[in-house]
Symmetry: C2
Subunit: 341 residues, 2 copies
Amino acid sequence: MKRVTINDIAQICGTSKATVSYVINGRVSKVSPEMVRKVEEAIKATGYVPSLSAKSLAGKGSKLIGVIIPQMDVSKKMIFENPFYSEFISGIEYYLRNAGYSIVLRVVNSDNCFADMMMKWNLDGAVVFGIDNDKMLQILGSYKVPTLLIDSYITHKDFYKMNLRDEEASFMATNLLIQDGHEKIALVTGKIDKSVLLSKRLDGYKRALKENNIPFEERFIFQGDVTYEYGFSVSQKIVAQADITAVVATADILAFGIMNYLQLDGKKIPDDFSIIGFDDTYQAKIMYPKLTTVGQNISKRGEMAGEIILNIIHDSQKEKETLMSCEIIKRDTTKVLKSAE
Amino acid sequence: MKRVTINDIAQICGTSKATVSYVINGRVSKVSPEMVRKVEEAIKATGYVPSLSAKSLAGKGSKLIGVIIPQMDVSKKMIFENPFYSEFISGIEYYLRNAGYSIVLRVVNSDNCFADMMMKWNLDGAVVFGIDNDKMLQILGSYKVPTLLIDSYITHKDFYKMNLRDEEASFMATNLLIQDGHEKIALVTGKIDKSVLLSKRLDGYKRALKENNIPFEERFIFQGDVTYEYGFSVSQKIVAQADITAVVATADILAFGIMNYLQLDGKKIPDDFSIIGFDDTYQAKIMYPKLTTVGQNISKRGEMAGEIILNIIHDSQKEKETLMSCEIIKRDTTKVLKSAE
DNA sequence: TTGAAAGCGCTAACAC
DNA sequence: GTGTTAGCGCTTTCAA
């Protein structure tokens, strides 16, 4: 079936491309009502669908938004092991779908891939996850493509970004445990020096201790990959430090690993250990026991990201930075420390 | 920064667009080595990236593969609650990324959305999930876009598809439980009459019973949504039928719901109930206890889907149907029935 | 080996 | 109101 073009429609209606283009784009005021009707009929009859390649070439939008996940770590190939992305992207997709856009999903693993992405497909905009790296920013900045940065702690004023109040969130998490009577609290996290986000979470952890006059101890900080596996393997070390009674994990996925190890090790959660995670991924509520965590309403954030990127594209986004709060979702992995009861 | 075009490169090198086009597309034999070098240099120097809109308009590929998830149920907006999609798409993305393609992700909720997807973006191909519906097939068929159907049980000979040996897989799952001494085995599944896939799984379940001379009983079949929530809520009914000792769930996500209810209800898994799931999603191994399930190596399947769709596009895919086997992943939610020990 | 030019489907300025 | 036309960036045929 040969493609039906705007020309065909024009021919059928005995008019010109321009007129058809007008009605397609809703500039109905420039066309006689009768012509409008005729064109609309022809479109329906032929099943005509405008080519966005052509539209995009002609300088209008491609109706394509890039969702870009940098993954410098080449060894990891799967983006969705961390359910955070899945849920976030679900939200973006949902919002943009309703606005007539589609998502181009891409993992990029080298600095200059952005150029490719942006230019190749004439993206109308891009949502980019977790960039702290200056090289990348520079590259991103050199393209005029409207961009929204998710969870990127950068100081450049000219980027739009959407972040969490990470310090505060981490403070709340730690504080919850402290209020439950815990004092020896482990922090299990990704590599802090590589991520401003994580260092914020460390700050919040420290502040909670400080405000409660609990001394900070380096030995309670465990850094590794943000994976289930790391959570699992590091748990041995946590158990080895006999005085630890609670742990803050900076991602649910870490918490799952910890939980699983402890349970396999015969420990009771939350009786022997209180655990609080971070993110409130979908899985948090399907675990047993259900994970207490710092909720960030991921899919809602995704939807909002969709909204913001569209605003940026339409030049109607005011705030450069959108800061979102978290809330503690108290479920079944934390409880008052026995000795403090 | 204005876009660098093929014209700019031509100008810089003092040649024509055609020549530049040749070297871009590797038809180096038609160009003098010296010119090739010059052009390549200019490309590097300017950071030129070909526009796929233009390329696609000119009749070449868009390097865009649609990944389409039909979701007629409008109320559900999130595609990634079922981790199956996440993992599968991860695999597709990984494979296609390495081949220079990107993925356009789209949930479609009405029949004619396909047209939009395919035509709007001049997709080079499409991977479409779970279509049994004839109307849709008809629409899909009328477009010449190379298409791969995932888990669609259809008889049309002219579609490429990639399926599981569902009957066999379900047989194996049920049989495992039977070999462990179980006879009263529940089957928790989606609505069977709406899905040929699920009816195959029912068939496998029945065959396993039959070959072991166990009578089939309608009261052991539980149909609902393929969600955690349904798994959770239906468990009450399962517990109510005091003789049931094991359950086959046709999706891991269902199994999770069941596990969680049972554990909350004070039941021991696998001591009181043996459970086997389906899919081997990532979560299966992070649960406690780890879920025994029928593995289909989802992300591998995704990669293969990427390979196949590319083959179809390049006209080198021979088999219309790719059938994949499953294997039992024995973990910790099944065990020999006590009374049978 | 290289270049000129037509055409892919669409938009928008401009003329009628 | 409507039609004409010149691009948008690229490929490809055909000549040179």
